[in-house]
């Protein structure tokens, strides 16, 4: 019997959307204001969904302290108040929120062993959000 638990974390960061392979004009066409050379920022809201059986003793899918610790060490230390374009993973990859979502999902899949990560979801603004999976929603 499976249940899911989702926890949300917030971090502000800046980025600029720009593709080196495209001309300056084409970059402006494709990315619009997001191509502004000085970049801009968002208050990203990251939701992580874990799934699995409930531990009969604790009543939990996962000790959320372990999730908080992992997020602090591996996600916040890296992305909170960062300029995404300066991070090595975005040296040759445009730091769209799609790519950020995939990158964070990769960090979880490689390092988080306490429970199964079912979905990584990032709300970039109130109007835009990105998800690594649909998970029945």
């Amino acid at each position: 019997m499976k249940a899911y638990v989702t926890k949300r974390y917030g971090f502000p960061a800046s980025h600029r959307l720009h593709c080196d392979e495209l001309s300056a004009d084409r970059n402006r066409d494709v990315y619009g204001k997001c191509n502004n050379p000085h970049g801009h920022g968002h208050n990203y809201e990251l939701s992580v969904t874990l799934g699995g059986p409930i531990n009969p003793r604790t009543g939990m899918v996962c000790d959320l302290g372990e999730l908080d610790g992992f997020v602090t060490r591996e996600i916040m230390a890296r992305y909170d108040h960062a300029n995404l374009n300066l991070l090595p993973e975005f040296e040759h990859l445009v730091p769209t929120t799609e790519n950020l979502c995939r990158q964070i999902e990769r960090i979880f899949l490689q390092g988080f062993k306490a429970a199964q990560v079912e979905r990584v979801h990032i709300q970039e603004t109130r109007k835009n959000s990105f998800s690594s999976g649909l998970l029945f929603d």
């Binding site: 499976k2 249940a3 899911y4 969904t49 604790t58 009543g59 939990m60 029945f136």
Partner: protein
């Protein structure tokens, strides 16, 4: 077609396993193990699925769904202590996960016209649990 209805209730609880020592309880459950309890404003979201009735245009009679949610969950849990006043939690830790499952079992047998798809319980703005039934 899927339809979701929301209800809110406030309740107190604590996390405690009588088989563990006070120190172990504090280690496993942290602040939640304080036996004086603490509380949350919970939000219950119930999603049902079904075909749209050709005559009424409804998936489910919302009044009926609201009454069932109020009777089975809100009236039983609002402004109550989950550990002490909700029988399911006499021996079950009232985590958000278990609360979602208990709500499912209270609601599912009462729903006649539509099939229960998901029960989501928000403990806070930043934490919620989902349950999709035993088969999932």
């Amino acid at each position: 077609m899927y339809l979701t209805r929301r209800a809110e209730f406030s309740a107190s609880h604590y996390y405690h396993d009588p088989a563990l020592s006070p120190e172990e309880n504090a280690r496993v459950f942290g602040k939640c193990s304080n036996l004086n309890g603490h509380g949350h404003n919970y939000t219950l979201e119930v999603t049902v699925k079904g075909k749209i009735d050709a005559k009424t245009g409804f998936v489910v009679d919302l009044k009926q769904l609201k009454d069932i949610m109020n009777r089975e969950v809100v009236d039983a849990m609002d402004h109550r202590h989950l550990n002490k006043e909700v029988p399911e939690f006499a021996k079950l830790v009232p985590t958000t996960e278990n609360l979602a499952i208990v709500c499912w079992h209270r609601l599912q047998p009462k729903l006649k016209d539509a099939e229960l798809h998901r029960v989501r319980v928000y403990e806070s703005h930043d934490l919620f649990a989902d349950f999709y039934g035993e088969d999932q």
